[in-house]
Symmetry: C2
Subunit: 432 residues, 2 copies
């Protein structure tokens, strides 16, 4: 399948892109058994053009998002390949989407200057070949598996996603939670990450993370041990398993879950790409939980993305004596993150019903136990304070001792007797 | 001084209370060298009547608070001693304070039934003698050392306080913070309590607590090791050092700080009195911090009082694997407590300027570092991502690699060169 699929992707637009004069790049292109109707052709054109366009941009390029949103990837790519002047591209955008044009017009020349140096059909083709080799599938924004949560990213959403593994796992992102944290995790942090990931998976909640050492890895591992898929968003291409020490882990995720990247295959991860990859983790998930993070952990960046798009943000506390938890405590203290201590609380944070232990009633009960010691009727406490087990006390003595009226003492003793907590002996009332 | 002071307190009202027919109780009463002006007489009368009235009630008796507030302790006590019918007492209240009467009138009969069985001049006298023996001083609501924070308790505020130690330490409650927590504390909790109490004391903030085992004791001990007083609110009389294992600690607090109780001397602590004592800790302090608390720790009751009267509430996080921190995590999670990890953050919570490390600017800086990884201009990150140390790269290669225009790359390289982070070699730009 890889090669015929590659050809299927390439054929329609490759023929057109020849107009740009890069004929030498087309040697590998072969006609393949695709449907020949105009709809099929348009879909394939769009998919290929999107794949190529995604090789021109860095993640988070809102100009690219706006341009492709207004014109479609194929038309936008034609404009670049044919070296249209900025005014012509802006005019086409204005016709298609006046709102987008207002934002783009003053920026389009600079954007073209960014994108054009990267135009290379050979590079795009190599990337597609790599994708085909590892069985990666291309998803574009209109695909039914496109994560609904990416809507929050606006024009900054990816143009495309490459997914490797069980693409159907994308559907489970509707019930997912991001577990992230420091690479320099402690045994405590990894333990908590694994407990949480196992508990979430058991609840049918997909654990999303970044495949890194430390917390990410612990979360993925525990999720893999369950029957529920886990999804790792990578900062480079899905053919580049990074970090190298997680090759086995990431391979297993590709087999039993899903690897996802917005960078085309062949792309290496950079600091910038890690920072922008984090927005995908936050946007794909219903909530983000930072399990363990030092004061400057990169996972705080993911937390920042979640907060920026209004997703629930949780942090797991740890010992205040542990620098590895200082970032979590900052999230609790300064960024209004919710304090979450187990999978049930994380599920509640994300707004998922919790079939294991209903959160709301539990929370309510806890609230009552914790803080209503005073609001509750104090008579039983005071009457019991005034009784002993060893000797009977008449009601009037209990009244004086408890500071209650004889009437209230008598009524309260009757209640407590019904509950089996006091009894009346010959010499008076006793605690039982 | 003890006995003459006792007599000084007793004389004026003891003479009057003889009218109630409890002549046998007056054997100990002796005239003493008090000033004979009407003002002195009124003050002494009020102090003695308040002391006696406080032996009739249990803590939190808002009816007593309202009655004494409306009539004064002396007149209220006369009403009780002379066995006025409820209507007469209510009529006097209506004349003095119609608002109080509206609340009290339907409750006064029951209140009289509560208080009357405890009327005993002998008991009150014994309590005063005990107070004199340990050098305890009586403060009433009008005293200049009365804690301003008690205003939040309304009619539920104590009628009187007995203080043992340096009464002037009451003044420091204006800059105080309650450190409370479980008796069943862990080494972690006690360590954090001691660090916090030492840091607060160093900042001139008075550590308030309850003198109990565990967190309370650790906090008091660390505060005693500083030059700043610490204040312990007890659930029984200040002559009853409870728990027995803290006799030495509480004695030292009486010597170098202050023991405070609303119960008269001779009173033993009961469960009810502990619950109500907690409201004094919360109300006396500018903020309450729970250092370590299990899910059902009594210290959560103190937290509830603080929240109920609108005082800032903080909780120190701990390992989620430690049941001893579960109560703190509940406060963070369900009761909107602030996450505090050290003395500086506690001082900030209470609204005290922190001469050691100014909180606000620190918080702002932290905010920027933590979450703005994306909002900041990404060009330097992307240009640095595209450079190596070992080989020069020309600007146009950096442009293609970083996905930026040559113009932006050139400008960014110039900035980075000024910062000494890149250098131009013969073969291009390198990271330094």
């Amino acid at each position: 399948m890889p090669h015929s699929e590659l050809a299927r992707l390439l054929r329609p637009v490759a023929a057109r892109s020849g107009a740009a004069g890069s004929g030498a790049d087309q040697g590998d292109v072969r006609a393949a058994d695709v449907g020949s109707g105009p709809d099929d052709r348009e879909v394939l054109e769009d998919r290929f053009a999107t794949a190529v366009f995604s090789t021109l941009t860095e993640p988070g390029d809102t100009d690219a998002g706006a341009l492709v949103g207004a014109l479609g990837a194929a038309r936008a790519l034609v404009g670049l390949v044919e070296r249209w002047p900025p005014e012509r591209l802006a005019a086409e955008v204005a016709e298609a989407d006046p709102g987008a044009a207002a934002v783009l017009a003053p920026r389009i020349a600079d954007a073209i200057d960014r994108w054009t140096p990267r135009l290379s059909l050979a590079g795009a083709t190599r990337s597609l070949e790599s994708a085909a080799r590892v069985g990666a599938v291309l998803l574009t924004r209109s695909h039914e598996l496109w994560p609904a949560g990416f809507g929050a990213l606006g024009d900054g959403a990816p143009l495309a996603l490459w997914v490797r593994g069980d693409a159907g796992a994308m559907r489970t992102l509707g019930r997912s939670l991001a577990l992230v944290g420091a690479r320099a995790a402690t045994g405590y942090g990894e333990h908590v990450a694994m407990e949480a990931a196992a508990g979430l998976s058991d609840r049918g909640i997909t654990v999303v993370s970044g495949g890194a050492y430390g917390i990410d890895g612990a979360a993925h591992r525990a999720a893999l041990a369950s029957d529920h898929p886990t999804v790792a968003f990578l900062a480079g291409g899905v053919d580049r398993l990074y970090p190298a020490g997680h090759t086995d882990l990431l391979t297993r995720i590709a087999q039993r879950g899903l690897l996802v990247a917005e960078l085309p295959c062949g792309s290496s991860p950079t600091k910038w790409r890690f920072l922008l990859r984090n927005r995908l983790i936050a946007a794909a998930s219903a909530a983000t939980v930072v399990v363990e993070a030092g004061r400057r952990s990169g996972s705080l960046n993911t937390a920042g993305h979640a907060a920026a798009i209004g997703r629930p943000l949780g942090a797991v506390p740890g010992p205040v004596t542990s620098p590895a938890s200082a970032g979590c405590h900052r999230l609790l203290r300064e960024f209004d993150a919710a304090c979450v201590t187990d999978a049930a609380e994380m599920a509640e944070l994300a707004g998922f019903d919790d079939p294991v232990s209903p959160g709301s009633s539990r929370g309510e009960a806890a609230r009552r136990v914790a803080l209503d010691g005073v609001a509750v009727d104090g008579h039983p406490v005071r009457v019991l304070d005034a009784l002993v087990r060893t000797r009977g006390r008449p009601a009037h003595v209990v009244a004086s001792s408890s500071g209650l009226s004889v009437r209230d003492v008598t009524a309260t003793l009757a209640e407590l007797e019904l509950e089996g907590r006091v009894a009346e002996h010959a010499d008076g009332w006793v605690k039982v």
